[in-house]
Amino acid sequence: MKTRIAKIGITAALIAAAPFAFAQTYGSPTTDSSGSSGSQTSASTQTTDPGTTGTSASSGSTTPGTPNTGAGGDAATNAVVLTLSTLVAAGGLAFLARTRKVA
């Protein structure tokens, strides 16, 4: 019995968590070390002062890089995840409702 429960539990978790494989994480600009970050003239300081950008390294000034201000490219993926999770939830609720009715 315990083995059966475990199998069902694992299967359920895998099925339900599948959308997570596609889920996107938002909340911060994309970390990009390939060049979109701002120039930093001194690694030893963290003074952000765009007004002095381009000054000598001794000034220790930095300029932030360009912001990541969009997420629309993930719209299709998010739509799929939302649809799948809605279907799974609806199916689960329907099953539970039917089970309760029978009981």
Partner: protein, 192 residues
């Protein structure tokens, strides 16, 4: 029967969590991962911008204060309807370029506050409200750059006449880097 019921409850619960997580992530940005540099705390004062209005686009947005993200990039507003003023730079109306960023769309493809800024034309006005009143900026030019070729020194220029620079994303989506490949910058100058 009991086992199936438990499994159904578990699956349903996970599905609901997945839905909620994805939906909130796609429609709301969480607090940005900012590093403590420069003016890390919220700045108060009469010159601090509170609202940005672009009559030509029907934009009327609350202004958040943003810093620098851990990535080194300018941080972004925590939602898709507000704009973010770079608080370590000049305030709008002060000498130099005040920089304001805003989203172009959200994770469901819904247009965000700066969706149409590339349609601005020279002469269009941008209004900044603060506690002292309203500043009027006039668009001088609109430029589109590959995202790694934005002239940062020009964008964040700290001296000279009072300017207002708006920036947002544009172009093709880079799925592996989760960003667009171009940036739109609107350059405006104080008119009164």
């Amino acid at each position: 029967m009991r086992v199936r019921t438990i499994a159904a409850i578990a699956i349903t619960a996970v599905a609901v969590v997945v839905f909620a997580t994805t939906f909130s992530g796609a429609t709301l940005y969480s607090a940005p991962d900012e590093v403590t540099v420069g003016a890390a705390q919220a700045i108060l004062g009469a010159a601090v911008p509170t609202r940005l209005r672009i009559p030509a686009l029907g934009v009327d947005a609350h202004v958040q204060q943003v810093g620098v993200a851990k990535s080194g990039n300018l941080a972004v507003p925590t939602n898709f309807t507000d704009v973010g003023w770079y608080r370590a730079g000049p305030k709008p109306g002060e000498a130099g370029s005040a920089v304001v960023d805003g989203h172009v769309d959200n994770g469901l493809g819904v247009p965000a506050v700066f969706k149409n800024v590339q349609n601005l034309n020279p002469g269009d006005e941008i209004l900044i409200d603060n506690a002292s009143g309203t500043l009027r900026f006039v668009v001088q030019s609109v430029a589109v750059y590959p995202r790694k070729e934005v002239p940062l020194q020009q964008l964040f220029h700290g001296d000279g006449v009072p300017r207002l620079n708006l920036i947002t994303c544009e172009g093709e989506w880079l799925a592996d880097q989760k960003t667009y490949d171009h940036r739109v910058v609107v350059y405006a100058v104080l008119a009164g």
